[in-house]
C-alpha cells in the first residue's frame, strides 16, 4: 500500500469510527434519557398481568377501529402513564351491540373492577384530551391484558389486584 493510500485509509477509518461512536453514544443516551428512573429501579415490583377471564368488568372505551394497526397507532400514552390497551371487540360479551360495532373490530379500552376506578381513568383521559365512554358491567373473555390492577382496592390500602367478592358491590 502506498503511503498516500495508507493516509487516506487511516483518515477514512478515523472519520467512520468517529461517526459511529457519536451515533452509538447519542442512541444510548437518548434511550436512557427517555426512560423514567422507575423503570430501572430493581426494588420496584412488577405488576402481574391479570387477564380477568370470565369476570364482569367496567370498560372505558376510547375508540373503535376496523383494523388493529389503526387502533395500535391511536393508543397513545397519557404523559408517562399507560393510556388505553388494544383488544378485539369480541373479547367482551355484548360490547359489539353496546357500541354498534362489529365483533371483528378493535377497541381502545381499559378495564376496571370498580366504577370509581373507571371514572378516575375517564377523568384522566378527558384531561389528556382523549375520548372516554363508560360501559356497564360486561363479561370479559380474558384474551389479552386490558389493564386490571390499576385502581384502588375498596379497603383503601393499595391497588385492587383480585376479583371483588360476590355481592361486595362496586
Amino acid at each position: 500500500m502506498s503511503r498516500t493510500r495508507l493516509i487516506v485509509a487511516t483518515l477514512v477509518a478515523l472519520v467512520a469510527g468517529g461517526a459511529l461512536g457519536v451515533l452509538a453514544n447519542a442512541g444510548e443516551g437518548g434511550v436512557a434519557k427517555r426512560r423514567p428512573p422507575a423503570v430501572s429501579d430493581p426494588a420496584a415490583p412488577r405488576v402481574e398481568r391479570d387477564l380477568g377471564a370470565g369476570e364482569q368488568l367496567f370498560l372505558v372505551v376510547g375508540g373503535v377501529f376496523d383494523k388493529r394497526p389503526d387502533a395500535v397507532a391511536a393508543a397513545r400514552p397519557f404523559g408517562e402513564l399507560q393510556g388505553y390497551y388494544v383488544a378485539a371487540v369480541a373479547q367482551f360479551q355484548g360490547l359489539d351491540q353496546h357500541l354498534g360495532a362489529d365483533r371483528s373490530d378493535h377497541v381502545l379500552v381499559s378495564a376496571f373492577r370498580t366504577e370509581s376506578g373507571a371514572r378516575e381513568f375517564m377523568e384522566l383521559a378527558t384531561a389528556a384530551g382523549e375520548p372516554a365512554l363508560l360501559t356497564p358491567l360486561i363479561t370479559n373473555r380474558g384474551d389479552v391484558y386490558v389493564g386490571l390492577g390499576q385502581e384502588s382496592a375498596p379497603n383503601g390500602n393499595g391497588p385492587l389486584r383480585r376479583p371483588l367478592p360476590p355481592g361486595s358491590g362496586s
Binding site: P36, A44, G79, E80, A127, S152, G156, N157, P159, L160
Partner: protein
Amino acid sequence: MIEAVSVLLRRAPALVVAVAFLVGVLAGPAMAGHWTQRGWRDHHKQYPPRPSGYSQIVQTFGQPCNDNARKIAMQWRAADNGVYYTVRFHRKLGGRKTEMVSDKGGASTNLDNDVHGHIRDEHLGGHTLSGIWGYNCRLIAGTNTYSTHAWGIAVDVSSAYDVNGQCYSVENKHHADIWRSHGWKWGNAWCDPMHFQYATDY
C-alpha cells in the same frame, strides 16, 4: 413631607394629581393578583422527606393507590383553555389550612399553598396550560411498574405543550425552579417536561 405635599397641592394641584395617577397606573397591575396582597405566604410547613427509590417511597407514602394518595384535591386553571382541572395528591403534600387553602385534612403546605401560591404570586399561571393531572392509579406506559402518580406524588402540567419524549420545555421551564425549591424533581431530566414528582431515582 406633609408640609411639602400641601405646598405642592396649593401651588400645583394638577401636578400632584397627575403624579398620583401615574403611580396608580404603574403600581396597580403589579399589585393586583399578587397573592401576597391577599394574605398569601409560603409557609413551608411539615414537608415530608423526599424519598429516593421505590422502598423509600413506600416507607414515606405507603402502597401505591392507597386512600391517602388521592386524599387532597385542588382545582388548577389552565391558562390556554380556561378549564379547571382537578388535581388529586397525597395528604402529606398539602391540604393543611393556610390563608389561601381551606382545611382539607392534609399534613403540609407544600403543593396547594406553597408551590401553587408561588406560581400565582409570581404571575406565572400563564405558563400552566391544558392537560393537568395528579393522582392516578396507573402503570408507566408500556411497563408493569407503577408510576409516581399512583402515590399522588406526581403532577403533570401543560401536557399538551411540554409533551413526554420532548427533551426541552416550552412552558414549564418558567416555573420549574419553584417546584425544585419545594422538593420536586422535574421530569425534563428524562425528556418528560410535563412531569414533576416528589421523589428521586424512581
